[in-house]
C-alpha cells in the first residue's frame, strides 16, 4: 500500500521568534529540574521540551527545548544554560534550518456516521490508526509540528477523548550544521 506524502502544513517550521536549542546534558538525577528551574527563575519561556537518552551512550541525554526568544535574548538563555555544570553542549538550530518532528496521539470517539470521514482524515495526513475498539479509535501522527497543529484543528469537528503531543525534537537539515551556541 502506498503511504501518502505526509502533509507538512501551511508553514513547515517554527515561528521565527521560537528557537530550538538542542542541549546535551549529563544523564543524572535532577538535571531536568536544573534546566527547567533555570528557565523559571530567569523568566525565560519554554514553548516545548522533549527529553530522551542521547545516542547510544546512556551517559548523556538530549533535551530539545523550543524557547521563546522574545522572553529573553537568545544569547542570555544560552549562556545561562551553559553555566549549568551538567550541560555539556548546546546547539542552536535556526527555525529555517531545522528539521522538526513531533508525535501526536489522539483517541477519538467514533460511530457509524463519522468513521469513514475520520479514516479519510487519517489517510490525508499520513497518520495511522494504532488502536481500535467499538466506540473509539486512537490515531497517531508523526510529522512536523505544523502538521500536528493542522490535524488537531481538523479533529475539532470530532469528539476527542484524549490528545497528547510529545513536543518537538529536531536536527539540522542536511548541509545546515547546527551552530554550536557555546563555542567554548
Amino acid at each position: 500500500m502506498n503511504t501518502p506524502e505526509p502533509f507538512l502544513g501551511a508553514t513547515s517550521h517554527t515561528p521565527v521568534r521560537h528557537h530550538i536549542l538542542s542541549v546535551l546534558v549529563e544523564n543524572k538525577a535532577g538535571v531536568l529540574a536544573r534546566v527547567a528551574g533555570l528557565f523559571a527563575r530567569r523568566g525565560f519561556n519554554i514553548y516545548s521540551l522533549a527529553v530522551a537518552p542521547a545516542e547510544t551512550k546512556a551517559r548523556f541525554s538530549r533535551i530539545t527545548i523550543v524557547v521563546d526568544a522574545e522572553s529573553a535574548p537568545l544569547e542570555q538563555i544560552v549562556e545561562q544554560l551553559d553555566k549549568l555544570v551538567n550541560v555539556v553542549a548546546i546547539s542552536d538550530i535556526a527555525p529555517k534550518d531545522a528539521l522538526e518532528r513531533e508525535l501526536l496521539l489522539a483517541t477519538i470517539k467514533t460511530d457509524v456516521d463519522n468513521r469513514t470521514s475520520l479514516l479519510d482524515v487519517v489517510g490525508n495526513y499520513g497518520a495511522a490508526i494504532v488502536d481500535v475498539d467499538a466506540g473509539s479509535v486512537t490515531l497517531m501522527l508523526a510529522g512536523t509540528p505544523a502538521a500536528c497543529d493542522e490535524l488537531e484543528r481538523e479533529l475539532e469537528s470530532y469528539t476527542t477523548l484524549e490528545l497528547h503531543r510529545t513536543g518537538r525534537v529536531a536536527l539540522p537539515r542536511l548541509g545546515k550544521a547546527a551552530v554550536a551556541a557555546d563555542p567554548d
Binding site: A33, G37, R41, Q80, V85, V88
Partner: protein, 583 residues
Amino acid sequence: MGGLFLYLTKRIIVQLTGAQALIKSLEMEGVEVIFGLPGGAILPVYDPLIDSSVRHVLVRHEQGAGHMAEGYALATGRPGVAMVTSGPGATNIVTPIGNAHMDSTPLVVITGQVSSAAIGTDAFQECDITGITMGITKHNFLVKSAHEIPRAVAAAFHIATTGRPGPVLVDVPKDIAQSMMEWWYPASIEELDLPGYHPVVDLDADRVAQAIELIRVAERPVLYVGGGTLKSHASAQLLAFAERTGMPVVTTLMARGAFPDSHAQHLGMPGMHGMYAAVTAIQKCDLLISLGARFDDRVTGKIPAFAPHAKVIHVDIDKAEFNKVRRADVAIRSNVAAVLEAWDANQASPQNLEVWWKEINAWRETYPLVYDEPAVEGLLRPQHVIESIAKAAAPGTIVTSGVGQHQMWASQFWKFEEPGTWINSGGAGTMGFGVPAAIGAKAGRPDRVVWCIDGDGCFQMTAQELVTARSEGIPIKVAILNNAYLGMVRQWQEMFYDERYSEVYLSPDLPDYVKWAESMGCVGLRATNIEEMHAAIATANTINDVPVVIDFRTDSSEKVFPMVAAGASNDDIMVHPLQREQS
C-alpha cells in the same frame, strides 16, 4: 629498582567509612577550618573529626557558619567550608549560600541528609536541600555512594574555586557516611567527571586587539573595577596598567581595596551612594572598561541613562555577564589579570587625558565626601566614628560590615589600601553578615586586626556568634553604630515616603549592648560623645585576647549622601545638603 617496582605495585588498600573519607577528602583539599554545628544526619561525620587536624569552629546558628566561611574566603582567597546537619540545619545556611552566590564567593557547604532509604518519605529532619539551593549554588551534589565521596568533594572544591567562584553544596545521606569504601582520591581534573564544566579559555587575541584600539582612541576612559578583579588577584596588574595609562579608576562596593584609596587616580566607589566624581565620570566617559564588574542596578541606576556616551569593553570570566545588562562593544572572556597583562604587553594606552582629568578634578574639588561638623555635645556622627576608628587602626586592618547606612559610610569613609581588607554583603545585602564574617576573616587571618562596622539592627540578627568568637579565641572588634533605627529604611521613608516612619524604630537601650557583650564573654564599651568615642577606640585597640563590642550612640537623622534614588538616572545624583547651595 626491583624494590621500587614492588613499592609501586603494592597498592595499599585502606578501608574507610564514608564519614572518614569525607574528612580525609577535606584534608586532601588543604582545609584548615570548618565552621559548623552537628545534628543527627551529620553525626557520623563529626566522629572522625575528633581525630582530624582540621579545626572546627562550633557556631551558635548555622547562618553564622555560612557567613564565617564567607568571611574566611574573602579574607584569605581560599574557599570557606561549612558543615551542618539536614533539615533545619541545612535551611539555616540557605541565606549565606544565597549571599555567596550573589557575591561569587567560593564556599563548600557539606550538609547531612537522611538515609538514602528515607529520602522522599518526609523523614525526620528531611528536606530537599539540593532542590532548595539549585538556583543559589554554582552546583550541588547529592552523594549516592561512599565511593563517590572523594570525587564529590574534589569536584566541589574545583567548581567553587575555578572560573567565576561560587558556593557548592554536597549533601551526604547518613547511611552513606556510615558505609565502607575503599579509599581513593581523584588524581586529576579528568577524574572529576565534569564533561560540561570548562572554566578556563584561551584569551581571544582579536578581541584583545579590538579593545586596545578602543583604548587608543579614547579621550575620556574610566576603569570600572568590580569584584572579579579581586577574585582574580589582579590588583598588582591593575595598579601597573592604571599608572602606565593614567586612566581614572572607580572601585565598586565589591571591589573596595582592589586599588588603593590613597592613589591620585582613584575616584572612589560608583553607584547609588558613590562619590560624585566616580558617578559623574562614568556618566560622561567615552570608554567604560569593566574589569570583573556586572553592571549591577546599584551601580547603573536607570539603565538607559547609564554612561550614555560610552563604548564598553567588558572583561569577565563569566560570559553570561556579557550583554546581560549593557551591550558590550568588545567582550573578552578572561580573568582580569590576564587581560591587563596582555594590554600592558601591547602598550595599550589612550593618547592624552589632560582635558579629561581637568573635568574630573573639578568634580572632585566641588563635591568631595563631606558630613556635618561633629557636635561637641549630643550624639555622634557615624561618619566621624568610622574615620576615628580608621585613623587609630593598624595598617592592613580588615573591615567587615552589616547592611545599611553604616555599610555605605564604612565603604565611603574607610580608606582601603589593599585587597581582602573590605568584606561585605553586596549583591544580596544580607543584614547580620558583619559579625560572623568578621569571625571567619579573623580565623583565616589571625595576624590582622578585624573590625566589624555594624548597625544596631544587623547586630541583633547574628550577635550570638560572639559567643563562638569568645569560646574559640577569635578576638574581633565590633563597632555598633547605634542610631536606634533600621537606619537605611528610615532614610528611604524620610526621603520618599513623606517622613512616615513605619516599623523602623529599634530603641538605643533595648537591648543593652554593653551587658549583652559582657554576657557573651566580650568586653562591652559605650560611647555617647566624642571624648568617650576616642577613649573607647583606644581601649578596644589595647584588647587583643577577647572580642570587644562598642556601642556608639549615633545621630539617627544622619543620611547617606551622595545618593541616586532607586531607578533614577545617575545624572540626578543628590549631593550632601552642605553642598547643595553651590550647585
